[in-house]
Assembly symmetry: C2
Homo-oligomer: 124 residues x 2
């Protein structure tokens, strides 16, 4: 994997952290592909970026998330697809942090690497 | 994707169902790659087939699982890797069924398609 690609992947992950911290939900246009799917714990699969934006708008509000930290544990490049395993830490405003693990399938869209399938679950 | 491969994928999924129903845990040698990883809800990531077998031995026992049904929702082939999105239904012996969604990264090992990364979470 080229240094450029590592940089692009990490930039997208930093962007998600920035969006969560600043509630800048429209920034998710640069994180998820248009036809992305998320598989959140406790809910059905959600299809399409606009529905995903609604999900995160509500989730960040309801969980009172102050910030999120993403850490890549493993990344495999397969042509125009990437498979990432990672850990996330959610920091709610008034509660203890929550540790989550995830798998993200990455795709290139309009020259940028984005999340195409995103599934996670809590460690405890 | 060739009919042969569809058949192979479905055979592996049927094998998992058979293993869950019959508690034939050693059959997981034919389901997971040697270096597979699972990311179960409520626990840390588990590395390696032997540890995964211990996990399933305990989980099937503790949840009193009578049977499992797997359903492929989407499958993308990327060379020697496959990305599957699916739904699973767990039928415990004495409780209501539990619906789960999952992402499995498939790899070829010794000429057979197996689960290499396996993450899931409950719908409710």
């Amino acid at each position: 994997m080229s240094p450029t690609m590592v940089h692009e992947i990490q930039q997208t992950n930093r962007l998600f952290e920035e969006i969560a911290a600043n509630r800048n939900i429209d920034g998710l246009d640069r994180v998820y592909t248009a036809n992305a799917r998320i598989l959140p714990p406790g809910a059905e699969m959600i299809n399409g970026r606009e529905n995903i934006k609604s999900f995160w708008r509500n989730a960040i509000e309801n969980m009172k998330i102050a910030s999120v930290k993403l850490e890549t544990v493993d990344f495999e490049l397969l042509g125009d697809t990437g498979v990432e395993i990672g850990r996330a830490t959610l920091y709610p405003k008034d509660a203890a942090e929550v540790t989550v693990k995830y798998v993200v399938i990455w795709k290139r869209e309009s020259g940028a690497w984005k999340w195409h399938v995103d599934i996670w679950n809590p460690n405890a």
